[in-house]
């Protein structure tokens, strides 16, 4: 039994449960927003999906930037806590969730992350080519998520609230988010796949979103977690990663320099997990999926911790079991249909 229980399998079960909760959860919890677990989840659990069990924090952030902060400034009324408090409340609720699970929301809860991961597994099963981002390219892609967070989640909704930008830019991130389309399609709802044709801006944003979604779905067959790399939630989670009790920890080890298996295992192609140690190894892009710890061949080098507790630690024994079924880069080994005879080879 112990031979089959791996961190990846535990994560797969958690992802399945979370996918159900974040896409179809309302079927159990109830149809109203009031029934949701939260409306400030640090994962792309889309509010356009009426069947989900909790909403993504990026929705209230955009709305509050537009409807509260922006419009309150415009009205030039007496500034009261009514203006700032909702924003603070949203961030505080987000941080409360984040305090416990931290960036594991990306690797264990986010429905879009789960869908991309499973599409990539499909690609591995069919032997499709696999592309990894080299260190220099990773460096070029990384700023995009911050730009998207600043521009689409904070700045444009604020400008729309101020009346400077068009009203249609009130929630621009949601308008281009592939999770909006993917999660609603999972509930057999095609409304969000259809383009809004009533104005040019909505049409352009919709066309961009659909193109991006199509690219992500096919791209995920060959690239691990393609959208996660530019996801503003990854940036938001990255900004507060050291506030969380759940974290990644790596200690310095003499073999690390010549090894690098952890970086190959990382679905986000983070070279720092190989090259650095201590706090610097836990990068903004980490989704706490734990693959680096699973595929680290040495004892106690990489750990996933919750406060002082170690939830998972790398070990040579675990590595041997893990590598028997899957390569660090995700390539699966052929399914063995004939069981080996007991006692090993006869020769």
């Amino acid at each position: 039994m112990a031979a089959t229980l791996t961190l990846s399998r535990v994560r797969t079960v958690v992802q399945l449960v979370m996918l159900f909760l974040t896409v179809w959860g309302a079927n159990i919890l109830g149809p109203y927003t009031a029934d949701k677990i939260t409306t400030r989840l640090p994962a792309l659990s889309c509010a356009y999906d009426q069947h989900n069990g909790g909403y993504c924090v990026l929705v209230p952030l955009q709305h509050q930037m537009k409807h509260r902060v922006g419009e309150a400034i415009v009205k030039a009324q007496a500034v009261t806590f009514q203006i700032v408090l909702p924003l603070v409340f949203t961030m505080a609720s987000f941080l409360l969730f984040f305090l416990i699970l931290g960036k594991a929301f990306c690797g264990w809860v986010c429905p879009l992350g789960t869908v991309q991961e499973w599409i990539n597994r499909l690609g591995r099963r069919f032997g499709l080519p696999m592309h990894r981002l080299a260190s220099d390219k990773v460096g070029r892609v990384r700023p995009l998520k911050w730009l998207i967070l600043l521009a689409l989640v904070f700045l444009l909704p604020l400008l729309a609230g101020l009346g400077v930008a068009p009203h249609g830019l009130g929630n621009p991130y949601c308008d281009v988010c592939p999770s909006r389309i993917v999660t609603t399609l999972l509930t057999a709802n095609t409304d969000e796949l259809a383009l809004r044709t009533h104005d040019g801006l909505a049409l352009a944003l919709g066309a961009l979103a659909n193109t991006l979604m199509g690219f992500v779905i096919i791209g995920a067959l060959a690239i691990r977690q393609p959208f996660c790399r530019i996801c503003p939630m990854l940036a938001l989670n990255g900004a507060f990663k050291h506030l969380s009790l759940t974290r990644l920890d790596k200690r310095e080890h003499s073999k690390c320099e010549s090894c690098g298996v952890c970086a190959k295992a990382c679905p986000m192609d983070i070279p720092e997990i190989h090259l650095r140690h201590g706090r610097q190894a836990y990068h903004d892009d980490c989704t706490l999926c734990g693959r680096c710890a699973e595929f680290c061949p040495d004892d106690d080098v990489i750990r996933i911790r919750f406060a002082p507790l170690t939830l998972f630690r790398s070990s040579r024994e675990y590595y041997r079991r893990r590598i028997a079924a899957e390569m660090p880069d995700g390539q699966v080994k052929p399914v063995r249909l004939v069981r080996k005879p007991a006692g090993g080879d006869a020769s």
């Binding site: 109203y32 659909n210 096919i218 940036a235």
Partner: protein, 278 residues
Amino acid sequence: MRCCLLSLLVLMSSAAFAAVERGGHGGGHGAAVHARESATPSWTRAPLLLAGARMGRTAVWIEAHNIAAEAITVIAPDTRLNAEQVAVIDGRGRVEPLREDVGAHHLLFAREQADGRIVSAASWWNFPTPGTSPREVLGRVRGGLELMPVDLPDRGPYREGTRHGFVLRMDGAPLAGVRVVLESSQGSRVVFHSDAAGVIDVLLPRDFDPAQVDREGRQARADFVLFARIERDGVEHLSAFNGPYGPDPMRQRDLSGGVAFMLLGMALAVPLLRSRRG
């Protein structure tokens, strides 16, 4: 980049304390129904509770039409709060959340009792402040003839072309085979009949004028009322439930265009599947 983010947050907090004299559209976000100015409805003779002028995020004028009610009963979704009555003066009453911090769906009732006739109207108002689910208050029996929805729209109004369940009860007992009429401000009139469990499966008519939808987009609104009339022991009972509905969002959407752009995105990613690199 993180410094930029924190700087922006600080800047925005500071900006909130700055005074900028500009006009802009206000109104709280999140209320389910869209308030409109009062107008005497000519499209129905059934009793109505219509949303009128709205005062910020925390109060709305509810207008009673075709019913001589003295008060509107407001029931919060949180069942720990007692229902409150709002006086109807000049045909309207000012409705607020029963507690400042409990919003969401508040049920509204009005009742008129005259010789040999009991008339009741029901509707709802969704305050943007978070609150609890209305399922429990919707299922409660209040006595007399009741026509209530099984569920309310979570956000926004009902939508044309969608199906919704309503329940018809008399003193808590379901009424089967009763004629229930739907009338809409767009001029539709549809007759339904309750089933053995007193349930009416209502299909909201697709009756929006395309020109109105073109003009007002997603914000276009119409009203419907569902009412039933029965007679018991020489007393006529008339019960109605009304609410707003909006156009089918697909009226202004193009599914084939959406699929085309999705396929374009997929096509752009296909080269990734061809060669092996890195």
